[in-house]
Symmetry: C2
Subunit: 134 residues, 2 copies
DNA sequence: TCCATCGGTATCCAAAAGATACTATGTGAC
DNA sequence: GTCACATAGTATCTTTTGGATACCGATGGA
């Protein structure tokens, strides 16, 4: 399944997302987050300030946005820049690593947009069967 | 905002993941789930039975796996087949729609595997700054 | 003076995740 | 006969998380 990959001459452990103790699980864990995905998608192409982000990503609360950004920053996916303007300005932007990921995330988001109707139809069919059966 | 969408006609794509009331949010919500992603990835290429899945996707509990599969089935991404063998056999497989998505998921998982070291390094750097600064 | 904006933190509560135990049915071992 | 195991889940309980709300200091405008 996973051939041993070598990174910088070092023989790395063959990362396996299915293994409970694999560090890739951490990544998956962090990225399997609605808000993180939306933030990454929103940050594609331009830096955005905190409250702007809060307005654009509808439905996110300050606390959750704050936490999400902090995690993304810790993971090296987002860079936080503080400008000492009069009300302090904080700008968030994708790092190269984050930009790289955001492309994958974008594929995800667009898949959702393309296939939402099929999913809604499947849900309706499923609920119909359940409702009739019960 | 998305008043003009036609279900049958496949006209434009008025869907916007950033809008709180957009149905794509439902998809994102469902898919932004660690276990769902792992299940989809595991189901690529072959049908798997419940307990086998449970063993393969390390760390998942029965309850969560059961819930996850039920949701994926409702979304039309996974098909559930019951064989009336002696201890009943239940097989889960990707639907065409699910397979389509699984390819995107796979890109995600492989991104994680490729970039895990960069992320771990970023985390270490971040934690070092935090530890030293505070 | 009062209220707004900036970028957050603190607090509380509801919802979800996770661990554990249990169900039913049937097989093989002892 | 009955003990233990397998199948595929459900039921229950606890812990963790997510989300809503309130609040913070500083500043500027009506």
């Amino acid at each position: 399944m996973q051939d041993g990959q070598r990174i910088m001459g070092r023989v790395a452990m063959p990362y396996d997302v299915f293994a409970a103790n694999c560090p890739t699980r951490l990544v998956l864990d962090r990225l399997a987050d609605k808000w993180a995905l939306l933030v990454l998608e929103r940050l594609r192409g331009e830096a955005v300030r905190f409250n702007q982000l809060r307005r654009d990503v509808e439905g996110v609360s300050q606390k959750v946005l704050s936490q999400t950004l902090k995690r993304l920053e810790r993971d090296g996916l987002v860079a936080r820049t503080v400008y000492p303007t009069v009300p302090v300005t904080v700008e968030y932007a994708l790092t190269p690593l984050g930009l790289n990921l955001a492309d994958t995330v974008s594929a995800f988001a667009h898949w959702a947009e393309r296939n939402i109707e099929a999913i809604l139809a499947a849900q309706a069919a499923y609920d119909g069967r359940e409702g009739a059966g019960a």
